[in-house]
């Protein structure tokens, strides 16, 4: 049995680099961050690196023009990291630091939620490994070929997978240690669904109220929640059992799929990472590349002539 991410080529690592930075590019490009300049400063509670800045500096950070300027510069860095412009590691590290500031700027007006965090960790991990560069121990062999096995790529993807699984394990472990069994036997699940179905939400789904209209669904939802917690706790075992990983993807994937219509909660960034982190991307991506090149060759003038 081979381990998850044991066969990662330089080409695959390049694809993962492109994927992660592309998701960031979309996330930032679609964010009208200038809105934050309109919100009252009394609501600003600086988090992370922003909390180290003097209060006067924070007023400067939240000026409309500066937010848009910073966004434009950061988009350029992300685009450069995405396509692997050299010096990649310098650009990618600066982009990751910029993203940390950006995420802090948004969270300072809300709360420290978890939406983009795994994607942020992915940016750092792909910035320190030679997803397109080389440094020290991570040196890419000078005579490498894109389809050669990349130990650095395996290490980076393994670290990324462990980080993602650690976030699920931490969530499950906390719930297990602090809230079990009450959280599964009380009315908590239906209360969350009802509140999120009726309250304000970006997506406007109201399926959460179905639990209260068809009460026989309540035990089903509670059992589903307990099962989800079990799989969250055991998440790191995905690395040593392929079958557990398949089951995990079904259970956690269903949880993410159900939490959108039921609770108006979308973990888009995590779900977008699943194909490159939780599947053997090192196996399927080269196959996709081969198939696409074969089709491209077939429809090319030279291929048609043959």
């Amino acid at each position: 049995m081979t381990m998850l991410h044991e066969h990662v080529t330089w080409r695959t690592l390049g694809f993962v680099r492109f994927w992660v930075w592309a998701v960031w590019l979309y996330t930032l490009a679609s964010d009208p961050i200038g809105d934050l300049a309109v919100l009252p400063r009394a609501e600003l509670h600086a988090v992370g690196v922003l909390s180290w800045l003097p209060a006067d500096w924070l007023n400067v950070v939240y000026i409309d023009g500066l937010l848009l300027g910073g966004k434009t510069v950061l988009l350029l860095f992300i685009a450069a990291a995405m396509i692997g412009v050299r010096p990649y590691q310098t650009i990618a590290v600066l982009a990751a630091i910029g993203l940390t500031f950006y995420q802090g700027i948004v969270r300072s007006y809300s709360y420290v939620d978890h939406n983009e965090l795994v994607l942020l960790y992915a940016a750092y991990i792909l910035a320190v490994c030679p997803a397109n560069g080389a440094i020290g121990d991570w040196q890419r062999p000078p005579d490498y070929k894109p389809d050669d096995r990349s130990p650095a790529g395996s290490a980076a993807l393994l670290a990324l997978t462990l980080v993602m699984l650690a976030t699920y394990a931490a969530t499950g472990a906390y719930r297990f240690a602090h809230a079990t069994p009450g959280i599964f036997t009380s009315n908590t699940v239906e209360a969350w669904c009802a509140a999120r179905a009726h309250g304000h939400s970006t997506f406007g789904f109201t399926a959460g109220s179905v639990l209260l209209e068809h009460r026989w669904l309540i035990p089903v939802a509670r059992v589903g929640f307990a099962l989800t917690t079990l799989f969250e706790v055991l998440a790191p075992l995905c690395l040593i059992s392929r079958w557990f990983r398949y089951a995990w993807l079904v259970v956690i994937g269903s949880m993410h799929a159900a939490s959108l219509p039921m609770m108006n909660i979308l973990f888009l960034e995590n779900v977008l990472l699943f194909p490159v982190v939780m599947t053997d991307v090192g196996r399927w991506w080269p196959r996709v590349v081969r198939r696409v090149s074969r089709i491209a060759h077939r429809v090319s003038p030279r291929g048609l002539a043959e």
């Binding site: 934050l36 709360y111 939620d113 960790y121 670290a159 976030t167 809230a179 970006t202 209260l212």
Partner: protein, 209 residues
Amino acid sequence: MYVALAAAALAFAAPYAMGTPRPVLVQAAVFVSLAACLAVHRRFRTFVSSFRPTQRALIVAAPLAVVVGHMTYAGFPLPDWHMFSAGSGDDPVYFDLNATTRSGATIRLHPGRAASSLDRLRADARLRQRLKDLPADGSAAQLPAWRRAADLIQALAKLHNQRHADDPVVYVDVDRCTVPLDDYQGERSIRRQRVGRVEVVIENIPARP
């Protein structure tokens, strides 16, 4: 595998052997058990030991930072992961912002759509924080906490108006809504109480796309 299971069982039993287990010890036991399962898995160990020292350091340090951040620092960018672990058992409460526009139409003002940078539940969470302790008996307007909530709603309405300059919002009624879990009969069974009204100052501001 048997060694892994034994290590996991030992780590797990330890907090309970000391009497009533403290949640933090149970959590630590879970993490130790999981780490033991990975560490004693021969194939996984061989795989990890095939990497160079700096690569191994990353593989260990990255998830460790997440776990340590979760259990100690609990702030951005290494927060706690406490989601969906607390419930009050009471009927759930949410706050509705019913906005009236200049043409007299009534719309629902969505904080996360007005300030799209704080979409999903971010803007709503901050607003809820401001409103949750305010009384819904008409006396909220006298309280300093209401002033802060009103300033935030005013800003959200301003953002909404920048995108809907043709029919801007002129005032917003804030309702506390309680969903009766045991006696839910659809939308009409939700109890609504008025917290207050926010008059919106309409300025000449540049429209946003």
